[in-house]
Symmetry: C2
């Protein structure tokens, strides 16, 4: 287990470095076909929003899901991972805006609208979202057109009205009217679950996996998505408990009602164990090749930051 965990950390880190390097290249000054100019300040704002040393968990999931089926699709998986990271980062840039969550800091750095201005943050987010689809469709992504079409469709559904963006709208609404448990589940599935599910399904699409394997990866993605959210909520709750004695005040207000705040820590810890076991069971058909993704499920369930 410890050796496996070490291997996981090594893979996570080396994938993150590859993703960071690719994103830096994609966000360099070099003009692409059909581009008229790359305005310098907007490009800097995009880089600020993306090149922030994140864990790159979503690209990791694309790359390692694809790797279940061999090494042939690794370069394509990296590019699709970078596209997905553009979507994730755009959502952070927009969520941090004063009209949304109004955050001045992210990872200890000023957010884009603080480092630049609100207009730059809005346009940087818009441009990152657009760039994601550019990356998928670009000739440098060496995938069959049918795979590209499937990826564009799945990514847009995961990111848009019926996925992540809709989830952020529900999250803002939840500050005013607390949702019931079904509402919380829907909100979380949209806001964070949809991109994680896409990440794993995308790995299967990139690798040209069978429809059955694609469904399996999708369910694995859903399962770790649920675990990701519960771990997140558990962190909020225990951080509150440690620093304030109870989960009230601004943090609880920002954290809003969660399944964990409603059902308690013991329920959450048990549910995380169940979800990790489910993830392991789903990956059983891939036997030893699934070691990294099984470890990823443990990592997601047990992460402490």
């Amino acid at each position: 287990m410890s050796e496996r965990h070490q291997q996981f950390q090594t893979f996570l880190k080396s994938n993150a470095e590859a993703v960071e390097a690719l994103l830096a290249t994609l966000l360099s000054g070099g003009l692409q076909t059909d581009e008229i100019a790359r305005p310098e300040r907007l490009l800097c704002a995009m880089r600020h929003g993306v090149l922030n040393g994140g864990k790159r968990l979503r690209p990791f999931l694309v790359i390692e899901s694809a790797a279940l089926f061999g090494d042939a699709a690794r370069e394509s998986a990296l590019r699709i991972g970078a596209a997905l990271e553009c979507i994730h980062c755009y959502s952070l840039v927009h969520d941090d805006l004063p009209a949304m969550d109004d955050d001045d800091l992210r990872r200890g750095q000023p957010t884009v609208h603080i480092a630049f201005d609100e207009a730059a943050a809005i346009l940087a987010g818009d441009s990152l979202l657009t760039l994601a689809f550019d990356i998928v469709a670009a000739p440098e992504t060496r995938l069959p057109d049918a795979a590209k079409t499937a990826l564009v469709l799945a990514l847009s559904r995961a990111a848009g009205l019926g996925g992540m963006a809709g989830g952020q709208a529900l999250d803002l609404a939840a500050e005013k009217v607390a949702p019931d448990e079904d509402g919380i589940v829907t909100l979380q599935a949209m806001k964070t679950g949809a991109l994680l599910r896409f990440a794993c399904e995308a790995g299967a699409i990139v690798a040209g996996a069978s429809a059955e394997d694609r469904r399996t990866l999708r369910r694995y993605g859903e399962t770790i998505g649920l675990a990701f959210q519960i771990a997140d909520d558990l962190l909020d709750l225990t951080a509150d408990a440690a620093t304030m004695g109870k989960a009230t005040g601004k943090d609880a207000g920002r954290g809003k009602a969660t399944l964990v705040s409603r059902r308690g820590q013991a329920w959450a810890e048990n549910r995380l164990k169940e979800l990790v076991a489910e993830a392991e069971a789903l990956l059983a058909p891939f036997s030893h090749r699934a070691g990294i993704l099984i470890e990823a499920a443990h990592f997601i369930a047990n992460r402490r930051n």
Copy 2:
């Protein structure tokens, strides 16, 4: 000419009605595959930003460019036109935000951030941008995957950092430091030209036209894009002149330096004639089938609103 103009107006109106109806369907409550929920308020904000009775000039150009090659691709062209209109409308919703152009009214109606709130306007814009790529890739768009890939790539390049969004960044910067003539040309080519060029090129892609015809349509799109901008700037100038005696104060400040304000009305009117003639010459190989697009060039050059 008058009969042709009447025919053009009829086509423009009937296309706009078809686009409006398709957009209304796409923005109905019906869940699509992979969507988790369609949050009602966000959906309403998206509808407010899109279903506004616009002329739908960009979809018209997609549809009529495709029609040069026959009727077979009409339904697909309509869908690609609707996708393009989602991009155009998202850009208006975001440009109207307080941090950008800060406009309260559009077409006599409150802008999305006034009718809803800023967060809703940001998310509605994000979701419309995302929906555009969804529409292109969706199975209901009955095009070969290679055409969908080409459309996603061309649309993302036209809309993103190196196109429309970059142009808006340059436009905001131009309020602080007036650009030179090259800067104005670049700004305008990005902010408004890129989507118009895409519209015409997309028609060729949708219709499966030859590479040569695709280049011709692209050049036609560039040409009418230039005419569009000069006509726009001319309207600003003459409207200012009519209401204020001269082009100064807030309107001129908002209008910023343009080729027309620098070179004058006579230059602009002459340049418009040249551009219409160029557009006609480009379309000559299509003979009588090009009547509507030739009339569109006249309409764009001579429009008074």
